[in-house]
Symmetry: C2
Subunit: 347 residues, 2 copies
Amino acid sequence: MSRPPTTPPTLEDVARVAGVSRATVSRVVNGTRNVDVKIQELVRAAIDETGYAPNRAARSLVTKRAGTIALVMSGAGDPGEEDAFAARVLADPFFGRVAGGVLGFLRPRGVHPVLMIADTERAREDVLAFLRQGSADGALLVSTHAEDPLPVRLVESKIPAVLFARPARPIPISYVDLDHQAGARLAADRLVESGCTQVATVAGPLDVPASQDRLTGFRDAMARHGFPYVPIAEGGFTSASGEAAMERLLAEHPDIDGVFAANDLMAQGALLVLQKHGRRVPDDVALVGFDDSSPALVCRPRLTTVRQPVEDMAAEMARLLMAHVEEPGLRPKSVIFEPTLMVRESA
Amino acid sequence: MSRPPTTPPTLEDVARVAGVSRATVSRVVNGTRNVDVKIQELVRAAIDETGYAPNRAARSLVTKRAGTIALVMSGAGDPGEEDAFAARVLADPFFGRVAGGVLGFLRPRGVHPVLMIADTERAREDVLAFLRQGSADGALLVSTHAEDPLPVRLVESKIPAVLFARPARPIPISYVDLDHQAGARLAADRLVESGCTQVATVAGPLDVPASQDRLTGFRDAMARHGFPYVPIAEGGFTSASGEAAMERLLAEHPDIDGVFAANDLMAQGALLVLQKHGRRVPDDVALVGFDDSSPALVCRPRLTTVRQPVEDMAAEMARLLMAHVEEPGLRPKSVIFEPTLMVRESA
DNA sequence: GTGAAAGCGCTAACAT
DNA sequence: ATGTTAGCGCTTTCAC
C-alpha cells in the first residue's frame, strides 16, 4: 500500500517483507507442508501486503506445465472464406454445450481453455505450434470434418489430445462418443410406435462417422420393424440444409408420414418445410430429431429428439485429457455414452 | 529425424546444429535484421531439422507478454447453479458472434483468447488472478449484468480491458457499443409505417443500460409519431422470458397490433405466443426484433429486426485491446456503431 | 554482423 | 523446518 510499484511484486519481494527465503514463500504458495504455521501466517500476510500473484510464465518454465489446454474446433473452411467457418461453428448451439461441459470440469481445477479454430492448413499449423511451444498442455478436438488431418498430426507430435467422436480412420487417440446406432434405433422405434409406415430420413454429411452410424442404425432398426427401404436425403447439419433435404424428400415421396433428422437443426428446417407444405406435425408427419439442443425446445411443436449428453461427454473429454497430461504414457481410451429419447410433441 | 528426443529442442540445440550462437538464432526467429542472409538460411535449415518451436513461457518471462488475452463472459450466476449461467451464455447465439469477431481479428496476429466465465465472486477472483499473473495481456469483457464489479476491479488493477457495451456507471475504461436508441427508433418507424397504432414492447432487463436505451429510444420515437403511451413487459433476453412477457401483454392489451422485442430471442418467444393465440404475423400483429441473430432467420415468418454488427464490434473491441496492451498509457476510448434495419417478413 | 553473458521469476534438489 | 543454489529457455544489452 506504499507507492504504486511500476513492476509487479515477485516472490523475492514477498520473501523480503516476510523476512524468509524465496523457497519458503514458494512452499506456502504451493501448499507444501513442512512449513511452520507461524511462518505460514507471516508469509500470507506478506503476500496480502504486497498483492503478490505468482508469475505463470516463470512457473511454467520450470514445471513444464502451462495450466491451459486448447479447445479446438476443427473443420474445412472454404478457402477465402475462413471466417465463415468460425462463425458457423461458434454459432452452433452444439459448441456452447461443449464449451459449457469443458468449463464445468476445468474451472474447479484452475485450468483454462484457449479457443482455437482449425479450418485451414495455416490454422492447423498454428494449433500445432501453439501446443508444441508448450502454451497449452493438450488439446480437446471437436472435428466436423471427416478427413481432418489434425488428429493424426497430434498423435505424431505426441501431444496429449482427446477427440469428441471417433476419428474417421482408427488411430491411437482417446475419444468420447455416443452410441449413435442406439440413438437412431430409439428414433426408429418411436416412429414405428407412432404408426408411421412411410418413413424417410434426413441424414448428416455421409463422410462423418456419426452420420453414417445414425443412418446405419436407423436403417437396421427400420428393417427389423419390417421396412426394408428408407428414402434418404443428405444434409449438412444446418437448418437450411435440412429445409433443402426435406423439400427433396417431399418431392419424391409425397406420402411420407415419418421423418428422422440426424440433428435438431436439420429437423427444425424440415419442420418448416413440412408446415409450409400444409403437413401437420405430428398428425400427418411425425418428426424425430437428434441432439436435444436448444432449437428442439423453440420449435412448435417441440421436437421429440434423441438426447446426446453433450455436457457430460465434454466433461469426460476434459477428464481424459487431464489424465493424459498428468500421465504421458497413458494408453488411449474411449468412452461411449448412451443416448436417451426425449419425447415431446413432434412424434 | 534421429531417435525421438525425450525433450523438445531448444534454441541451444538449433544454435549447435547451425554452428552459431543462441543470440543469432533468436534474431532470425524473431525476424530481426542485421543477420547475414547465408547464416539466416543456415539457421532456418537447423530449425527445420530439429523441429524447433520457441518456448512461450521462456519468451513471456523476458518479454512480459503472454500473447493471449482473456475473453470473459460475465454475469450473475445463481449461487449453487454456477454451471447454468455458463451454459446459458455460451448457448446464446450472441456469444458465438462475439467469439467469431474476436477470433477474426486476433488470429492473424497470433494472439489467442482464453475463454473465461465470471459468474461468482470466486470466478471473478480467478479472472483477476489470471490476468495479474500475466497469463493474459488483457481482457475482453462481455457483461450481462448491470452491477458487475469486474470492470471497476480491472481498472483498479490497471489491467488493459475493453467492454462490450457501456458500463452501468461511468468508469475510465474503453468500450464499444451500439447506438441502441437509434436502433429502437428504426423499429418504431417501421411499425408505424406498417400502420400499427396499438404498439407494445417486450423490453430487456431494465438494469442493463442497453435495455434502457432501447426502451427509451423506442418510447421517444413512438411519442414523436403521436403515440404517447407504450405498454411494456420486461423480459430476460431469453426465448422463454419473451413468451411470458408476450402472454402478459396480450392479456392486458388484446388489441395490440405491433410489438417491438428488445432482442431476437424474446421476439422468437413472442412470435410463438402470438401464433398460439391465433394472431397472424405480420397481418394481425407486426413484430420487430433486435440483434439479427440466427433465430431471426429460422422463425417463420422470418423476423424483421434491427441489426447489430456484433462481429465488427467484437473485432473493434479486440483492436482496442491490443492498442491498450501495446501502449499502456493510452486513454480510454469508446466506439459507437450504427444499427441498420433488416426488413423481412414479420413487419 | 555476431557472440558472451546477464537475468526474467520461479521450483526443486540439496544442504543445513 | 528452512535456506542456498542451480537452472528452466529465452531476449537483450554490450562488447567485439
